[in-house]
Amino acid sequence: MIRRAFPWSRLGIDPTSDKAAIRKAYADVLRSINPDEDIAGFADLRRARDQALREAVWLAEREAAGDDDTGDEDEDEGELYGLGALDGDDDGDPDWGGSDWGEDADGGGWDIAPAFTPGEMRAPEPQLTEAQQRAQAAWEQLLQILYPGGQPSDNAVTHSEFEIGLAALDVLLARAEEADLEEHEALDGALADLFARTWPRSAPFVEPANVAFGWLDEAGVLEERAALRFLNQRIKGMRFHDKVQQPEHPLHKAWVELSRPGRAGVLDRLRVNRLDVHKLLVGMRERYPELESYFDPERVASWEGAGAASAEGVSNAGRGFAGAVLFVVLFFALIRAIGALSGVGGDTPADNVPPPPSQLLEPTAAETDAQVAQVFGPGTDMVGVREIDPVFADQLSLNIRYSKVNGGLLAFVRNRAVQAGDAAKFEELVALGELKRIWLRAALDNPAQCKNVMAGDFRSLPLALGKAETAREQELLRRLLDAKLLGNRITKPATTFSIPGWAIDKMLKKSGLDIDELTLALKSPEHPKRCLVSLTLAEVVLAEPGRVSIDLLRAL
């Protein structure tokens, strides 16, 4: 007898396509062992059985191929609740960072076959029940609303679009209620996916679907679907929006104030607590940035103090804002989505997208290039950036529009650099480390500033760099740009790192701290010596970057 290979060896049978034989062999072996005393053996046996069953399918196909070619199985001919012709490539549009929508695609709605197995080889059209036909029609209608003219849209839905869309959604949700599990799940997945893709245009439709499918119950669960991870945060935002409308909500006054049109007058400033306004803006931008579209940008700007400079000549800018503001919102959403898709939990550093400006001037090409050169040094212009990294170029040009009112383009690029670490390779990590060293050194004397730098926030306080440092910074940023690291915000889950002993010794010497204090400062972000220790760590590591682990470089 020939020697058998795994899994057949474990089961004690020859390779076979006969599933019953495999099960019988498994049962016989299982009866001969005591799983509790031989846990590894049991695991091995299960694995052997599962693998054998898979191989059996393959063997059966091979056997069948010999005498009868059944041809390829047609899949999803009449896909129910699919994107249809709208979306040619199923991988999603590039805006989503090319992220695949998830390993859980099998649970998602896209590829669920219609609720009917095609009976014959040439089943003409899948037979839909009347209710399913209605639902399918409603689905297509909703698709039309969210992808007007077959294209993604940045505009909010109009009132009539909303009415039609909501009616269509109602039909779909009613169908989900009636449908069997499979169709219910298909609808659940398809709607979640559609809404995430078309956010924020989909915003007014999300809550009813959440109620019907219990999306929010999935929030925070280990295997929360990617689309829901994104949507649930948005739903929470809308819930907050509803709650803050209640007069007893502590931030209600601040909310009402910010949503009024025009600049805040003296009386307004007396009536509303400045701290509350600040709290609302900061908290909201961190958690639910999309809600900012409810505010009048002019009013926000006037509270943020930017309005004073541009007091006059903005009154007619009102209408023009709507599009721009919405665009900002979309931009937010995309960034958040990328984070959500790539599995980053928790909060990202202070958002680097500017608040809506108090005035919006289309900068000239020359102005744009001047700004770009300021960041990346002479010799780099917008065209150059676009050649290297078109995705980043789009983000950059958007930011240039706002740069006058929000602490400058440099803050944005610096923030991007901080986040580039996850995808960076050794050389770029060293460059990045050096950048951080420059920033930390410049911020060393100012604890608040230092904290900002470590959190990736360069907007709150200006960073004073000398001439040489500025030149070096430009050079290093340019290097990161060349490596195409600035456009992506795909961040991997955080890794842990270790600091080798020799580095600790050097740090002790350099910083003048004792070991306990050093340890404490490394562990706690709030430690007063944190800035010093981070800087020392950067200096020590950068002296001999080849000697430390890539994780440590990344974590600088």
Partner: protein, 567 residues
């Protein structure tokens, strides 16, 4: 002797493996189901089962039901001045079941297989084990209720079965398991559930639906606990009535006045739609985890009293696009399955070929912290080690490294659950190992979780650098105290005076008559009152023959009344 016990939220049952088949053991009243109810009176007089349930209407403050829902929590119940834990209460039911077995076979059972909802967490399981020990039963194994039901279902003909779904909606818990049978192997592929959803919740919905329809002032005159007890008893009755008809009267008697409201099946269905929705999610989860699609399920097997409700069956038919299988006795299957498991453990006849494999229903892991690329610490992150629905027994190892420089020790907090944030999961225990002081990340620690078929989690922690190992068979505070605790509980329960078994019938009848007396007004009440007095007089004479006659007479009277009235 080893027995199988279904310790349910509403009813419990005990069964034996005898002569190659599982057999239910009837209680002192000759019934196979014993209500999971306990009632006490001052002086320690105790009622368990039907009599206790009947006292719910007359002595609501001293009577408790559905205590299974409190298992694994620190809450206690005070009845007639005696404070009891949910374990104590369960132990009293278990003891009464053991009495029944002793009466039927002449042997006192010493060991038991007890069923628990598949979705019971470790705390709830441990509490169940403790209850068994307090009752003087060695718990040889806890078996999941849907698994037990599947055994009873599958062993009816011992044939192979493609994967089928067991839908177990009991009085307080809801489980879904996907099970396959071949060559004598019973294989659970996945389980999911909701341990806070059951028939009781449907009763509550009914109460909420009806309460506004009843005259508020009459209701308000009732003391709160009595009102609640009467309403929930009436709700259960109405729910049962709705299984056979399209509408039913919901009646409570307050201050001798009957208050009635009519409930239609349709109205009930609408009011219960929120609960019906919650039935869907565990089904989806179990299917996803087992990679089986709805169409390939060979059967939907219904277990648990609440699956009798037409609203539930209707929802199921819609969900699965076909009619569920109701050939299994929804109240007996679990106890019968427990008896089969008992037979397996004791090498019973006809079970030589049978093996069961089950899964771990929850994800098990430890709490970790990491530092992200921006230097910020994130702690309380759940790091799974054994994923849910992994076949047990299973043993898995993960490596972790120190996060702080010169860290002296590493503490692993062990959790069970599905949330990314450990605070939302159930903490099972904690284990600390000393590590050599070294820079962060240079000390590795290996953590091995071993989860065996009886549901015990064993945690091994090993520091390869020093060769140091620590082992923890998961115990928590409750368990650490347990030995002493169990002895104390036992002593406390022994002080309570349970009625002698030969009086059980009389005691239960008295309680029933008293409940009926409370539940009626007018001439009907007088008739019952007279019957009660006569029966009490007969009891005083202490002549077994006279008592038996009187008992028969009163029983007949009450039976007749029951058929006449909605009560």
């Amino acid at each position: 002797m080893l027995v199988g016990i279904d310790l349910g939220t509403t009813n419990s049952a005990v069964a034996l493996w005898r002569d190659g088949a599982p057999q239910l053991v009837p209680n002192a009243l000759g019934r196979e189901l014993t209500p999971s109810a306990v009632s006490l009176a001052k002086g320690g007089e105790t009622w368990v089962g039907q009599a206790a349930l009947d006292r719910m209407a007359t002595n609501p403050a001293d009577t408790v039901t559905s205590f299974k829902r409190m298992m694994g929590t620190a809450s206690t119940v005070t009845l007639a001045g005696t404070t009891l834990t949910p374990e104590d209460l369960s132990a009293m039911v278990l003891r009464s079941l053991a009495d029944d077995v002793e009466a039927a076979t002449g042997t006192r059972p010493t060991e038991a297989v007890i069923t628990v909802p598949a979705y019971f967490n470790e705390r709830q399981r441990r509490a169940t084990r403790r209850a068994g020990e307090i009752a003087g039963l060695e718990v040889r194994r806890l078996i999941n209720e849907p698994t037990a039901a599947a055994l009873a279902f599958g062993l009816a003909d011992k044939g192979d079965r493609e994967p089928f779904l067991v839908f177990d909606l009991g009085g307080g818990t809801f489980d879904v398991s996907i099970v396959e049978m071949f060559e004598g192997i019973v294989e659970v592929r996945a389980s999911a559930g909701d341990n806070r959803l059951g028939g009781d919740d449907f009763d509550e919905v009914l109460v909420r639906l009806v309460e506004p329809l009843l005259p508020a002032d009459a209701l308000a005159r009732l003391p709160a606990d009595r009102r609640r007890a009467l309403l929930s008893l009436a709700a259960e009755r109405t729910r049962r009535a709705l299984t056979t008809s399209e509408e039913a009267d919901f009646t409570v008697v307050a201050d001798d006045t009957p208050l009635t409201a009519r409930v239609t099946a349709e109205g009930f269905e609408e009011a219960a739609s929120g609960l019906l929705k919650r039935l869907r999610e565990p089904v989806i989860r179990a299917l996803r985890d087992s990679h089986i699609d709805v169409k390939s399920l060979s059967d939907i097997v219904l277990v648990g009293g609440a699956t009798r409700m037409p609203v539930v069956r209707k929802a199921l038919t819609r969900m699965f696009g076909r009619f569920p299988n109701s050939t299994v006795h929804p109240d007996h299957a679990v106890a019968l399955g427990a008896a089969i498991q008992a037979g397996l453990l004791s090498g019973g006849d006809g079970l030589e070929e049978i093996r069961i494999t089950d899964v771990a229903p929850f994800t098990l892991g430890v709490s970790t912290a990491t530092r992200d690329a921006h230097g910020r610490f994130h702690d309380d992150i759940f790091a799974p080690i054994i994923e849910r629905n992994t076949p047990v027994p299973v043993s898995r190892m993960e490596r972790f490294v120190t996060l702080g420089d010169n860290q002296r020790q590493v503490t692993f907090a062990i959790y069970q659950g599905e949330a990314r944030d450990v605070k939302k999961n159930v903490k099972l225990g904690e284990l600390t190992v000393p590590v050599p002081p070294k820079p962060a990340g240079e000390v590795g620690v290996e953590v091995r979780f071993t989860y065996d078929t009886s549901g015990l989690l064993d945690v091994d922690v090993n520091v390869p650098l020093t060769g140091l190992t620590r082992n923890l068979v998961i115990v928590d505070e409750d368990d650490r105290r347990s030995k002493k605790d169990i002895a104390e509980s036992r002593k406390r329960l022994e002080k309570l005076k349970v009625h002698p078994r030969d009086e059980a019938e009389n005691v239960a009848l008295l309680a029933r008559a008293e409940r009926a007396y409370e539940g009626f007004t007018g001439p009907m009440r007088d008739i019952i009152g007279q019957g009660l007095t006569e029966f009490q007089g007969a009891l005083d004479k202490q002549d077994p023959r006279i008592i038996a006659d009187a008992r028969e007479g009163l029983t007949r009277l009450l039976d007749e009344i029951d058929t006449q009235s909605p009560l």
